[in-house]
């Protein structure tokens, strides 16, 4: 029980069980908010007891029993509180009789739809992104408050408050514990996908030189998206999101050096890329693309796939990437896409063309003062052989970024060019 090898699957199966148990308890007691607290307590009890007493024969039944008992206690003390306050002898007992049905719940086959109901509930449009992320990780992901707080480097009490306030907002919006109608589901799916993708990028972006004890949010996001895809097989964009996650995650270990320094795509050791993830991502993407209705995530996944399939940086099929960015710009016109498109254009038609495409962004409020504009300009001026301007823009980008590894990287780029300034060797003369 105590060897690390057995601890990991035990935690994993607990996390898988959490949304199933929550679904049963929330449905029974018709109170998502309290049920979510009760299940969290049952999970913590399992973490305490199972390593010592062994895993129960039926872990799901154990968790349902503990959580239901906790719910009954909460209902009882709520009734007692109201009795004290109103001094009334007859108070309606909303859900106490539900206790009798716990055994029936345990026997019942689990409803796979429950996880989906929970996912839509946690990604409610009334919630801010950070609240939706925290609640999704706890209620659907089965993570503890401490684990989530640790992943976001905030105190546990702060995360607990954030989750509790998110649940208050959901309560106030009066959503029942049911799956939204197909039309509403289609409308709200983009929000769900965005939350899942934000969890992934939070994990991926912060995995540079990250302390190992921090929870791997990228893996959690992939796990959650995988189960969402099983539940909504007809929505091809979920496959697109999952493909994008896998095709990006495949490069994770290659993009940082031993001291956590950033390694750009064209300098990465591609033998470190995760072949299994690339294969799975590519397969998912191919299948999704064959079903038509090409969405935002599928296009981004397709771009990631083109990078991933190049054995060496110089083998990258830039014309194809440029064409994909053009499609992306049509589906979702935004300055970040233009920025990336300019890089692709520079690789195909030379840096002067890339710089030309960047020009209109100077008048775009969303990007004109953004450090990434400087970073891309620096890169393109370097390609052009104009090291003086490149250095200037690398430093501008370093001053603007809010990321420590990026700042180190950008300053180092400027320093490297400063040294090489006497002997310029343009890539595109």
């Amino acid at each position: 029980m105590n060897s690390p090898a057995s601890v990991i699957p035990f935690e994993r199966s607990l996390r898988e069980l959490a949304p199933q148990v929550l679904g049963v308890v929330a449905r029974r007691f018709r109170d998502f908010s309290s049920a979510e607290d009760a299940v969290q307590e049952a999970m913590l009890a399992a973490f305490r007891q199972w390593p010592q007493e062994g895993i129960p024969e039926n872990p799901r039944a154990w968790l349902i029993r503990v959580a239901s008992r906790r719910m009954t206690d909460m209902v009882r003390s709520e009734i007692a509180r109201r009795e004290r306050e109103t001094a009334m002898t007859t108070v309606e007992e909303p859900a106490i009789e539900a206790k009798e049905d716990v055994e029936a719940d345990i026997e019942a086959v689990m409803d796979p739809e429950d996880s989906l109901v929970l996912l839509f509930m946690c990604c409610h449009p009334a919630l801010s992104a950070s609240s939706a992320i925290a609640l999704t990780l706890r209620a659907v992901g089965g993570l503890t408050t401490a684990e989530i707080a640790n992943a976001f480097l905030v105190p546990e009490a702060t995360m607990a408050q954030r989750i509790s306030r998110a649940k208050q907002s959901i309560k106030a919006s009066n959503v029942g514990f049911r799956l939204p109608a197909p039309q509403e589901r289609r409308e709200r799916l983009p929000t769900v996908l965005r939350v899942l993708y934000l969890i992934f990028s939070e994990g991926y972006a912060s995995s540079i030189g990250a302390q190992l004890q921090r929870l791997d949010l990228a893996r959690e996001a992939i796990r959650l998206t995988r189960s969402a895809m099983v539940l909504l097989p007809e929505d091809v964009e979920i496959a697109g999101v999952l493909a994008l996650m896998l095709l990006t995650d495949a490069r994770r270990t290659a993009r940082a050096g031993p001291d956590g320094e950033l390694i750009p795509l064209d300098k990465q050791d591609r033998s470190q890329w995760d072949r299994a993830e690339i294969a799975e991502g590519t397969q998912l993407l191919t299948l999704a693309l064959s079903k038509g209705a090409v969405g935002l995530y599928q296009l981004q996944a397709a771009i990631a796939a083109v990078h991933d399939e190049a054995a060496r940086a110089q083998d990258t099929d830039w014309p194809q990437i440029l064409a994909l960015y053009e499609l992306l710009r049509r589906v979702s016109p935004n300055p970040m896409v233009t920025l990336n498109q300019a890089v692709a254009a520079a690789m195909v038609h030379g840096p002067a063309r890339g710089l030309e495409l960047l020009q209109p962004l100077d008048n775009d409020d969303r990007l004109s003062s953004h450090y990434r504009l400087d970073a891309v300009r620096a890169h393109l001026f370097e390609m052009l052989g104009d090291f003086e301007k490149a250095v200037q823009h690398y430093r501008g980008a370093a001053a603007g970024t809010t990321s420590l590894p990026e700042q180190n990287y950008l300053i180092a780029q400027a320093a490297r060019l400063e040294e090489a300034r006497d002997k310029p060797t343009p890539i595109f003369p």
Partner: protein, 131 residues
């Protein structure tokens, strides 16, 4: 996104504060307490500390053998950090809103204050340069 809200003040501001009335001081302490509690209740609080007053502040430099050389003579215009809060919020506007509430805080004779609060984003370990 994490931001730090810094309360800066000159030595003379600290001395002026020391002469506040008992009532004003109590109101200020109560405000600081409720401000921090509000941050905690709304799920944005990360950390907060108050600093000792600058009278014993020292500037330390290493000498030629690495020994500490201290200097404590500061120009009157120098601002010292009095205390800070680190918050985790959705974006800069939310941080500025919270800073404004802190700025308003408590002044003397029951009036609202208007001290300036320096707001800076905390560097993250993230990278989304698209690598």
């Amino acid at each position: 996104m994490k931001y730090i809200l810094m309360m800066n003040a000159k030595k003379s501001d600290f001395e002026a504060y020391a002469r506040w009335s008992k009532q004003d001081l109590q109101a200020n302490v109560a405000f600081m307490r409720s401000f921090t509690k509000e941050l905690k209740d709304s799920g944005v609080f990360v950390a907060s500390e108050g600093l000792s007053w600058p009278h014993e502040a020292k500037l330390v430099r290493a000498g030629s053998k690495g020994e500490p050389i201290t200097d404590g003579v500061f120009p009157e215009s120098k601002e010292f950090l009095a205390g800070y809060w680190i918050i985790d919020v959705e974006g800069p506007e939310q941080a500025y809103g919270i800073a404004a509430r802190l700025s308003q805080g408590r002044g003397t004779e029951g009036r609202t204050g208007s001290m300036s609060v320096e707001v800076r984003q905390v560097l993250s370990g993230h990278s989304d340069l698209g690598l």
